[in-house]
Symmetry: C2
Subunit: 406 residues, 2 copies
């Protein structure tokens, strides 16, 4: 007997037929005697419909009211899932965040879970009741509805698994696992049987959309065994596990990409102490997340060029801030380019193998692809290239690192 | 300075434009310095959409989960109304039933309000904040979501007005008041400036759909000054008030009709004590509401015919019950007719004026309309006639009681 959290994403509960299909997966686990908590997203398209309502009602909306409106989608699915399980003869009840409660901070629209009360649910497990939990939502210290940000139902599921000390957290989705690269582009991409938390974290934050980054962080921290699998096909998915659970490592596990980047260059910045702070301080105050940063000396040795990337959503705000501080940092010109893509090669094997970066640079050079910015971490190398090379670069790197299926 | 509850029905908040229009009505009252609580229904069509989900997911649905799903409609509108008011520069916040809380009993699907905590709202009135309350919903003793039955937002508004000791409860709807009869049928119908609680109660329970019956009961009991008015036209509506606030009474105030009736006749029932209990007891146990009842002696003086009406929704269930008890009560035959309409003439003036019934019977006879069943109360006479005469009967009675506009 195990305790399992099963999470179904929007496409897996897009309509009543799919909810029924998901409920069958729940029944299969339940019938084996397991204790089950189900976490559900809103039906596909529903959150967008609700967000549109909010932004059309009030452009500069109050995030507290945004949360009231948008969280209703998961409420509906939780009730429908409970009803569908009951229709199959299984005892089930829905739980809204305020009923459990799932306590969060008060950062509306992207709240963080602080505590989950599980006593009631666990008592009912003993009576063989299935708990159906509305994902994505929480309750703030002053009893307002909060939401956890896009993809937040993954985090709900993992936090629930951690609080319930569940044996497993299964994330059912419309793909059947984590791939070495995006299979829509790289047809030779392979499904991974296992991936480490660290790699998954890099994959998620470098653009692979299969799991919300925060949910992976949380799973790693709490040691929740995560599985990503398809709600439509009955086959094993990808297990996200500790490094020591993986016997044979690939040097590179996957290649991710993100088109959500914009490049900004400040040319001719005075090369003196405090200049970087003069640029990135105001950006940070304006809530602009800066990603890759390179600084290079200008030809005259007196001035420097500063290049970095920001998310496309923050681009306009970033440019506004920079035009304001431009003169203070002695910058000649602010240049920008939104037609860029960040490509990242990820693998824990990099820690112990040299030459991984060299393979990347050589491969891209052979295809005539110019690298604009480079950044690295312990288990990742990212490069910024012109967007038009996305597919070419992904396929070439996938082959170069020996990831292609036969 | 007054304290006002303003309630907007589904058609008044059907889309963002209409919500904006409703918000303007709120602003007009707010700008006069009044304290405002707004109660909102789900956007028109939304509740039906959600009910369809539920009934398609599980025909014999768990009413607790029905309430979770269906109550989400009002949640969405409450957030959108708060956002729209904020957009107009007014401080507003949404309140869900569990946040207030609005305590109900645990009769899911048609719960009754037991208590409303108003301290928090009243504190915020002092800071000039508008409270936007999700109508139709409550919270049961064991912290599950409840709903108050169709039209329940009217009841939410009146109960809120009572708890807040509001000076007025304005019900904004898609008609501009209470009419002497249905204006879609009786083109000479007039809008009433005032109507008594008792009359309104009869009108509502006899088929006029402008207010939920329970909301009128509650308003009468708590002495809430109710106004029914249009959210689209800026003109006074109909005030629902105590009898002593109406100086000049019409004898008859309105003529209502209900097509939601089915007639059932049991012929040749043994005429002995306990027979009525043998029929109506089992119907009551099956939750069938019986309305008009007449009993008449059969020609042989030994047996009796029993005729009564039930709501069309209960008809199949009633027939099933009756076919079960038929033999026990010595009944020959169960006959039924669903093509009937109940027409009711309503007015507190009847108490002191004779001959009101006579006008009704003579008028219908002159038009060749056969009366099948008659029932009366202190301020109402109802007759059951063949459905095809609905329009003819309404118009003739409207004229006969001097209600036509010039």
């Amino acid at each position: 007997m195990a305790r399992i959290v099963m999470k179904f994403g929007g496409t897996s509960v897009a309509d009543l037929d799919r909810i029924r299909n998901a409920a069958k997966r729940v029944k299969a686990e339940y019938d084996q005697g397991h204790e089950i908590a189900v976490a559900v997203s809103a039906m596909a398209g529903e959150t967008n419909r609700l967000v549109d309502f909010v932004t059309n009602a009030n452009k500069l909306h109050d995030a507290r009211e945004y949360d009231v409106v948008v969280s209703s989608g998961e409420q509906v699915t939780s009730g429908l899932m409970a009803l569908t399980l009951q229709e199959m003869g299984l005892p089930a009840r829905s739980w809204l965040a305020w009923q459990i409660p799932i306590q969060t901070d008060d950062v509306h629209g992207k709240a963080r879970i602080q505590a989950i009360e599980t006593e009631n649910m666990i008592e009912r497990f003993a009576d063989r009741q299935i708990a159906v939990v509305a994902g994505f939502q929480g309750i703030s210290p002053d009893r307002r509805v909060t939401t956890l940000g896009r993809g937040g139902s993954d985090t709900s599921a993992v936090a629930l698994a951690a609080a319930l000390e569940a044996d497993r957290c299964d994330i059912y989705t419309d793909v059947d696992g984590v791939y070495t690269s995006d299979p829509r582009i790289v047809t030779k991409a392979r499904k991974l049987d296992r991936i480490t938390y660290e790699e998954m974290l890099e994959m998620a934050s470098q653009g692979a959309k299969v799991l919300q980054t925060r949910s992976v962080e949380l799973a790693m921290k709490a040691g929740v065994r995560l599985q990503v699998l398809s709600s439509f096909r009955e086959e094993p998915g990808t297990l996200v596990v500790d490094e020591d659970e993986i016997v044979e490592h690939q040097i590179v596990s996957g290649i991710a990409y993100s088109r959500d980047e914009a490049k900004i260059s400040l040319s001719g910045v005075s090369d003196k102490p405090g200049v970087a702070a003069g640029i990135f301080g105001p950006l940070s105050e304006a809530n602009v997340n800066v990603d890759m940063i390179v600084q290079s000396m200008a030809a005259d040795g007196q001035r420097t060029d500063m290049t970095f990337t920001v998310g496309k959503a923050d681009f306009d705000r970033a440019m506004e801030v920079l035009n304001g501080v431009k003169d203070d940092v002695g910058c000649n010109d602010v240049l920008s380019d939104q037609n860029v893509v960040k490509i990242s090669v990820i693998g824990v094997g990099m820690r112990s193998h040299a030459g991984v970066a060299q393979v990347m640079f050589r491969t891209l050079a052979e295809k005539g692809i110019n690298i604009q910015v480079i950044s690295t971490s312990e288990i990742k190398i990212s490069v910024l290239v012109a967007e038009e090379y996305t597919e070419l670069a992904l396929r070439a790197l996938h082959t170069a690192y020996g990831l292609d299926t036969d």
